[in-house]
């Protein structure tokens, strides 16, 4: 990616729709992040009983009929809610938007596990008679389902893709949207990430078997990135989608601009199925900074990926230390400490929840950081209480995932210059 040569290659965020375990709009979510409100609760799941999870309570019927909810998937409903809210928030006159020029790009960690588990459970009640396996299984589990459901709901006839990118997926959705806008394939992109993973027992069971599922008497204190007492991941559901468009079209319609995508990068560790790799993460951050023509000292907020696993947090700390060194200006925070790990939605929610910093100058905190792990001892972490820094001009958002997929998105405060 070269530096944008003209305004048509400048891509801005003009609408935000989200659902998180602690808020169903950007305003609610931001308020929770500033107030230290967690969204983690106890959650009953098949075969495993009580686990800890971040659960969303948005109204599915705000934008869907009951039949559509029944026919579709939870990931589809989350996507539809976020897409509709993003469009509403963008101020677009949706009736007049040319629907074949809209693209939908949604990142997911996984898709189809929920529906497959449900069907297997269902046939188990019929002595595994496969003749009662639902005819809805295939349309629910095809990998494009979440983005496809959005196009059905909104009458969008442009391209749609659901991208599997493990826990780097939220950023991957944004990046795909930026690229398609720059290629001229679409005029509007609805982009980001979603996750319905709390409805599959498999993801909990697998993390538990891996020794990476968080436990705590107080659900709100279970997700503890960088803390010495962290003991794993709290799985959460959620979604974050935004409207992306080229700068001239945003200016022409007088849209509120939440920020400009200044740079991005994705790379691969090529080293392990699950263990992250600080060297590659650092390379990914440096590549994004280079493409944005920025130095690490230009960054005001780093939205860290840290998931509260032992090794993951240490690796990201090493990467951050390598890239940011002793830069005193930057504030490093972590959204998972509030809501848990929203998987495919994580990168999206973590970026979107930080965008209001451009207006209020406040860096939200990393909560549950009672005793910093010496191996994660970054001076720049904003611990437990938000920090008013006065002016925020640049946010760097990290999202990393299994199989060694790394993604970084850099957003800067919009300025006509």
């Amino acid at each position: 990616m070269q530096r944008p040569r003209n305004d048509d290659e400048r891509i801005v965020i003009t609408g935000i729709g989200l659902t998180a375990p602690n808020g169903n709009s950007l305003d609610e979510f931001r308020a929770s992040l500033l107030a230290g409100r967690s969204g983690v609760v106890r959650h009953d799941i098949r075969y495993m009983g009580k686990v800890l999870a971040g659960i969303c309570d948005f109204d599915e019927l705000r934008h869907q009929k009951r039949k559509e909810v029944r026919r579709g998937t939870r990931a589809g409903s989350i996507s539809i809610y976020c897409a509709n809210e993003a469009i509403k928030n963008s101020g677009l006159d949706w009736e007049t938007v040319q629907k074949d020029r809209v693209g939908v790009y949604i990142g997911v960690t996984e898709h189809g596990n929920v529906e497959t588990e449900n069907e297997i459970y269902e046939i188990s009640q019929f002595e595994y008679d496969t003749s009662v396996w639902s005819h809805h299984h295939n349309p629910r589990t095809v990998a494009n389902n979440p983005a496809g459901e959005v196009t059905l709901n909104l009458g969008i006839t442009g391209p749609h893709l659901t991208m599997g990118a493990a826990c780097a997926a939220g950023n991957a959705g944004f990046i795909q949207g930026v690229q398609m806008l720059r290629l001229g394939d679409v005029d509007l992109a609805i982009a980001g990430g979603v996750s319905e993973s709390i409805h599959t027992f498999g993801i909990f069971a697998s993390f538990q078997s891996q020794g990476a599922l968080a436990q705590h008497e107080d659900p709100a204190k279970a997700s503890r990135p960088f803390d010495v007492d962290r003991n794993g991941i709290v799985v959460a559901e959620g979604g974050g989608l935004c409207v992306l468009e080229r700068l001239p079209s945003a200016l022409a319609r007088g849209a509120k601009i939440y920020g400009e995508i200044a740079g991005y990068a994705m790379n691969s560790d090529a080293s392990d199925f699950v263990l992250p790799n600080a060297k590659r993460q650092a390379e990914c951050m440096r590549l994004a900074l280079s493409r944005a023509e920025m130095e690490s000292s230009d960054v005001d907020i780093v939205s860290s990926h840290a998931t509260a696993t032992h090794q993951g947090d240490i690796e990201e700390t090493r990467a951050l230390r390598e890239v940011f060194g002793d830069t005193s200006k930057v504030g490093i925070n972590n959204t998972k400490s509030f809501i848990g790990h929203a998987m495919g939605a994580a990168g999206a929610l973590e970026l979107l929840g930080n965008l209001p910093s451009f207006d209020d100058g406040i860096v939200h905190a990393t909560i549950n950081l009672d005793r910093v792990d010496p191996e994660c001892g970054l001076e720049q972490i904003v611990a437990n209480e938000p920090r008013d820094v006065g002016d925020v001009g640049c946010i760097l958002n990290n999202s990393f995932g299994m199989l060694g997929i790394n993604s970084v998105v850099i957003v800067k405060k919009f300025s006509l210059e």
């Binding site: 009929k65 039949k67 029944r70 003749s131 009662v132 639902s134």
Partner: protein, 87 residues
Amino acid sequence: MNPEEIRQVVLEILARIAPDEDLSELNDDVPFREQMELDSMDFLDIVMELRKMYRVQIPEEDYENLVTMDRTVGYLTPMLKDVTSPA
């Protein structure tokens, strides 16, 4: 089950499949699909529900017997006559 009980079962299945529809005015001799939004996948849900509830296997060539409530009840009555009503 007698025909009236079978009608009630089918009505409850329809209510689950098409939860946004008002079925109180359903006309029993008019095709379902002329009175409500019901596509082929929904129709298969009727077949599936009957299969799960009563182990009734309805071959594809018999689907035309499920077009209206009257024909559905008539078709199912001999199959379900020995089944106890769920109520």
